[in-house]
């Protein structure tokens, strides 16, 4: 297993750990099975879309999508302005390569 795959597996397990709801008094084996099912589901979905070319591979396009939504879903322009400031701060910090993809992920998740 490559180090990238190891990091992805670690990430998937971390997500399931965070989002799996505990059932009081549940049999540990049942909990274990629920966790495995959730990890398997996540891995299959991410792998089946792994080669999918990203729809938006441009940080500006992802930012335009977000700005448009903030303008459309809020009566005042305040949130869109706040995002514009955050976006320029984001571009000024050299860390993280896939900024466009994280923006697009948040855009999809917030939809």
């Amino acid at each position: 297993m490559s180090s990238q795959e190891a990091r992805i597996n670690k990430g998937i397990n971390g997500l399931v750990q965070k989002l799996l709801v505990a059932i009081p008094g549940e049999d540990p084996d049942a909990t274990h099975e629920r966790r495995n099912n959730a990890v398997e589901f996540a891995r299959e979905l991410l792998e089946s879309n792994a080669r999918e070319p990203a729809i938006v591979a441009d940080v500006n396009q992802a930012s335009d999508l977000i700005k448009k939504r903030l303008i459309q879903t809020n009566p005042s322009p305040e949130k869109a302005l706040r995002f514009t400031n955050l976006y320029s701060r984001l571009l000024s910090i050299p860390a993280i390569n896939q900024k466009w993809a994280v923006l697009y992920f948040l855009y999809q998740l917030g939809g």
Partner: protein, 75 residues
């Protein structure tokens, strides 16, 4: 003490997570900082952002469903 270079990197990554966390709040994506940093790491390692959003939505929906059942059983 880690070499100056890596502590600067850590600080920058922390700043970026702060910015993305505020953006996720603006978008009502409802992600805590830890879950968000796991997602950023996954995306940095090549995971498709749209597929990851689908996974998060499904895991959350499953969690809400489980919570409803727990409350019904306790009711």
């Amino acid at each position: 003490m880690p070499p100056a270079e890596s502590s600067k990197d850590i600080q920058q990554v922390r700043q970026i997570i702060d910015v993305f966390h505020e953006i996720s709040t603006l978008l009502n994506a409802n992600l805590d900082r830890h879950t968000l940093s796991i997602c950023i790491s996954l995306i940095e390692n090549g995971v498709n952002p749209e597929a990851l959003a689908t996974v998060i939505k499904e895991l959350k929906r499953d969690g809400e469903e489980t919570m409803r059942q727990v409350e019904q059983n306790e009711g």
